[in-house]
Symmetry: D2
Subunit: 421 residues, 4 copies
Amino acid sequence: MLLETATYAARKSSLAERFAQTRAHTEALCRPLQVEDYVVSSMADVSPTKWHLAHTSWFFETFLLDQHEPGYRSPNPRYAYLFNSYYVQAGERHCRAQRGLVTRPTVDEVFQYRRHVTDAVLALIGRLDGDEAHPAWKIIELGIHHEQQHQELMLTDIKHVFWMNPLHPAYRAPLPRTPRVPPLQWHGVEEGLYRIGHEGTDFAFDNEGPSHRVFLDAFRIGTRLVTNGEYLDFINDGGYRRTPLWLSSGWVAVRDNGWTAPLYWQESQDGWTEFTLAGDAPLDLASPVTHLSYYEADAYARWSGHRLPTEMQWEVAARAFPLQGNFVDHGRMHPGTAGEGMSQLYGDAWQWTQSSYVAYPGYTPSAGAIGEYNGKWMCDQWVLRGASCATPSSHARLTYRNFFPSDARWQFTGIRLVEGA
Amino acid sequence: MLLETATYAARKSSLAERFAQTRAHTEALCRPLQVEDYVVSSMADVSPTKWHLAHTSWFFETFLLDQHEPGYRSPNPRYAYLFNSYYVQAGERHCRAQRGLVTRPTVDEVFQYRRHVTDAVLALIGRLDGDEAHPAWKIIELGIHHEQQHQELMLTDIKHVFWMNPLHPAYRAPLPRTPRVPPLQWHGVEEGLYRIGHEGTDFAFDNEGPSHRVFLDAFRIGTRLVTNGEYLDFINDGGYRRTPLWLSSGWVAVRDNGWTAPLYWQESQDGWTEFTLAGDAPLDLASPVTHLSYYEADAYARWSGHRLPTEMQWEVAARAFPLQGNFVDHGRMHPGTAGEGMSQLYGDAWQWTQSSYVAYPGYTPSAGAIGEYNGKWMCDQWVLRGASCATPSSHARLTYRNFFPSDARWQFTGIRLVEGA
Amino acid sequence: MLLETATYAARKSSLAERFAQTRAHTEALCRPLQVEDYVVSSMADVSPTKWHLAHTSWFFETFLLDQHEPGYRSPNPRYAYLFNSYYVQAGERHCRAQRGLVTRPTVDEVFQYRRHVTDAVLALIGRLDGDEAHPAWKIIELGIHHEQQHQELMLTDIKHVFWMNPLHPAYRAPLPRTPRVPPLQWHGVEEGLYRIGHEGTDFAFDNEGPSHRVFLDAFRIGTRLVTNGEYLDFINDGGYRRTPLWLSSGWVAVRDNGWTAPLYWQESQDGWTEFTLAGDAPLDLASPVTHLSYYEADAYARWSGHRLPTEMQWEVAARAFPLQGNFVDHGRMHPGTAGEGMSQLYGDAWQWTQSSYVAYPGYTPSAGAIGEYNGKWMCDQWVLRGASCATPSSHARLTYRNFFPSDARWQFTGIRLVEGA
Amino acid sequence: MLLETATYAARKSSLAERFAQTRAHTEALCRPLQVEDYVVSSMADVSPTKWHLAHTSWFFETFLLDQHEPGYRSPNPRYAYLFNSYYVQAGERHCRAQRGLVTRPTVDEVFQYRRHVTDAVLALIGRLDGDEAHPAWKIIELGIHHEQQHQELMLTDIKHVFWMNPLHPAYRAPLPRTPRVPPLQWHGVEEGLYRIGHEGTDFAFDNEGPSHRVFLDAFRIGTRLVTNGEYLDFINDGGYRRTPLWLSSGWVAVRDNGWTAPLYWQESQDGWTEFTLAGDAPLDLASPVTHLSYYEADAYARWSGHRLPTEMQWEVAARAFPLQGNFVDHGRMHPGTAGEGMSQLYGDAWQWTQSSYVAYPGYTPSAGAIGEYNGKWMCDQWVLRGASCATPSSHARLTYRNFFPSDARWQFTGIRLVEGA
């Protein structure tokens, strides 16, 4: 899983602190919720909040405490069955489709489980003080990043749960609306042989490496994301009714699902609204469009006469720009505003690329159950780059490879265009 | 809906009392539950407890208060959408398949809604004092019986919710086991012209009438229900593997669902267990077998060389016997013991008949939405007679026609046999 | 299967003749077909013509020749697998859903198979001359009636095959249109105890007995079937859009299948047309409406303020009238005209009753595979009475119990009404 | 569609000849078939032979004759509806799922249709003599290559039709078995910047260009395909039961479809057999394994410690070797033998690559309906390289990009391995 080889021991105290902060942040995200909200799964992709809370604890229990803390005992041995997501080599697990049917353990019991695991991990960190080469350090680091992924999912999932409720409850208070955006401009990149993928000793997922060379023809990439207003032009131009704009399977998805707009958009007598974490709101035309499938991103690009970037183009173009954005943990939680140069790279919306999610040359998954983290999903998914408004800021990375299938819409996903290649 | 013509006003005080008791009993059934337990639907037939609590209030609101209490206002006008079950003429309604996804209103809010409706109904009852011919009396009576039906469903539904949870939580404390049962004997009925169906001024559902004559050949009917032990003989004799014992669609159900025993039975190294409202327990051989589909009841009857009764046979045979049984509200909640004469008619298990659920001669549903209560379900269902251990005792009736499709197993359903016709 | 007890030997010569005629008539029905037409199955209920030809031969082979003709050998032992329909006790069989995928044996080979079986049966009949009590006689009689059932299916199935072809080919030449029909009148029947079901030594299927007594209240029954023109009034009155007219599952069928008219009706600029065995034709307003589901028949009856008859009402009312009609083998092949008294009982359209298809009191299926003929289908089907224009005239019977599920529309099914009960 | 810009007129006489030969070869492939065999579709991916014959004629009619032959008239205007495959911009079309239900036009009529189109195209070719720049030349060339694709599909489709028939008929006589194969060796390629994709004026599909540069790390590629015998080792080692060898969706496919071997393999008491175009035969251990999904190819590669090549690796490695193989039109029709150097590149089995089917940099589909040929399928498919035993030899090309989804098994698909990158 972990590509870097440096010892973590030197960073031990910061690791303990980051671990504790990550655990606390997960729990802080639950504050707006009622007990009932933790329980349900509103569609196959959505897990209950309660499950996220428990699964991120199970992860530390299974891969860290069961391996490296001899006296560790789970508060309930059945939790291993209930809260394993998809790690076949870690034992039998509960059917994903039934996650939303499990009323016990209660929310209180799940928080107790979390405290139990958090305490045990902190004790282990203390005990390992000085043992710089201990393999536990890497697992703790991985567990933190794993939990951050679930922090993002908790927000996208509860948004969908609230959306499916005819009452459309709000998770948080509204944000100020986005001011006007600058016109879309193009940032040029020369042809050449470039190095791609993660290097160095900082944390990265295994799928971000090995670092390797790619040749790219010259291209120009959009300096900001496509806005709601621009996407509305596509809709008003009949975008959802013009078959030739769509991939064949995309057209089937449009027809079978009755798509006429991004997820969470609704048209009423008073114009378009979108459902946000703050409830229903008038559509913000200057914000980046989000909650799009790959099919819609691809059709929009075709309609506009451009293409989606490859993940290599995205990474090469983004390398020169700082890792900053409108992240949720900086106080924002909906797509933000465009700044100078290449903007909106991180913290607004994941950006669909036209690169399939396949292994980099020389990629080898880790041995054992932990090797199932990334590799076994390399089929029928597209890479998304950047980071969304729901991504924890310390989780965003230049080389990060997110991935979803073509029809996924419940994530904060958006569009950046390229031209000239 | 209501067949009788007598005025209810004379019984007003008792009606107010029965209404209040019914509402209170519904809420008492919730005492063993945690907040999380109220929310989920574990399969298409199962509604969340929260939904039952609200829907039985919506029923009074829609058919009573909105019609007869001019100043009545619902606490939330969206509740009419959320808590209408299937009354097309009462307006748009929430998709049944999504009942288990609704986290708001919270459980607390639903109890507030109940109190609001209960208070308004009691106020209306007070206001109508003396107006003996007012149509509201019949609606109140119907609403009480409607709520009693949901009391039974609350128990069968939470049982299924707990069963689907790998932890198999218990709803209540265990009961003493059933002592030995007397041997199965046969009660004879002569051929003749008999009158069937509800008569008189007591409450009955519209589908129990009109009363009419039927001719029956002589027959003999079992004096008690088939037991778990007897049904186990059928299993051990290969009952679930012998195609000729089954209806054609029954065999498909066996194969596609992998049925090898009644719902809630499990075979382990220590023998058969059954999941009960008190959690997992060793199979009680002397108890009536329950949680059977029509297919299984029919196959068992064929295997044993008998038949299931028609609903006419059942009613004619049962007429001579008192309306008594092991009802839940008398302190029992699992199938009971066989007594003298015709026993276990009520209070153990609903008894599958080989009568399809069709209209009695001359049946006409009520006008308007309330007419959807029974009539529109008269297709592809079988009549069940008697009452189960989960039926409120004051809800059981000689002429009661319960109905379920052939593959329903989550109710307390059992087998009584006939021979000779 | 066979209820009668008389010996068949006295009728041997006529049996040989009827057998040969039945086999020849089956083949004569194929004359309008091209080789390609024999092969396909246009939906789950439809079998290829080739399959009907072979299956009716397999029936004689399995239940007659294999049992009673020691030296008999099938031309291909795999045919038993390919052409068994649903007789579990007769061995493994080909999946029904794949009947339309079998290109070999070819049509020529299937006709050879037929000749092989026909010759062997005729030889057996000759050999049994004088052995009046031989069980083979009953099987031959049953096989003839079985083949007649498939003669009707061959017509309804090829009609559907041609309908599914965008070219809408014709099976036969057009018939003269129906003249005007007399007004609908009502034939009264007094209340009383009546005997129902087959008696005597003529052939009947086992499900037509035992004969038994039923009590009926007085009722009045329509003297003719509902016409296309009358059904069009229902459509024009919004019948397919008015939920309260429909059974709950019927409304789901209307919505999910997009039903707006009977099967084979199409609305164009020039008005309504119907697809017939003679291809597309203007709707004949005076003909009985056909190709209706039970749901549509039931909704029409409700809309018109009447009900469908029970099968007991139908049989009691029809007993006084002769067994005559516009049968296909009398030169007609689409619904005919109404005559005097009770008319259109046979030879126009099967008439949906509101009786579920369940066993008569005392019914016991035959032992062995032949017992699967009728009994195992007694679930979720409705009885239809009379006979259609596609029924062989010698196959129609007063006590005949045809049966189909609620949503079946590809048979010639129609509506007779009752009132007053 | 066509990348080259050279005039075709100089090659006119050879084009007329190639066109006539292609049409004749398509028809020659039908010689072993009975009329019945032309009609059916044995699964969603399989089209009836009759449809292939007609569709390849419709293609010339729609894109050539309707555009460039003013007086052209189709023998039946409904054919355009029946035989359009997926070209949305060419008008409404018949549902793919119902292709196997169309008995008319008959086989004879379809051959007449073919002759009508063939004659019209030949007349057009004669008329255009001398008009070197006429756009029709490119369409004719494209139509020939399109028809060749269907020649391959006709063989794979009829193989599946015969497989689904329990009689397992044979399409052709058996071939001699494959002698022993040389051991698997590795052909090395140095790291470097390579040019990929079609260049020049010969025909290629639009998806083979534009030609462009890619950087490749050094790698070594197998000199022959994986054999049935080697794949059997994988099976015997529990390959189909070891979850960690599989992609996540691959494991679902294995479990849901019950896969335990390649399509067409069967295990009996006498060992493994495979169904071939010559009927059932003992498994030929020395032949390349075929009829594998991507999932199985990928799992085998993982099990053997190697990977599948990228399409870039395949093309760079294959460039140095001649375009030769065991093609069907050279007298063979099942996978062949390994020769010297890089062998079995063409004419044995299409080789799964780990490259998703996406557009090359700068790719733009043609305008109009013809642009739907390739571009709209660029989603959730993998590229396969080389050519199979069923590919017409003149259709194989170094730069050819075939594509299928992960679970496709009815094509002749096999495995070539890489290592070291």
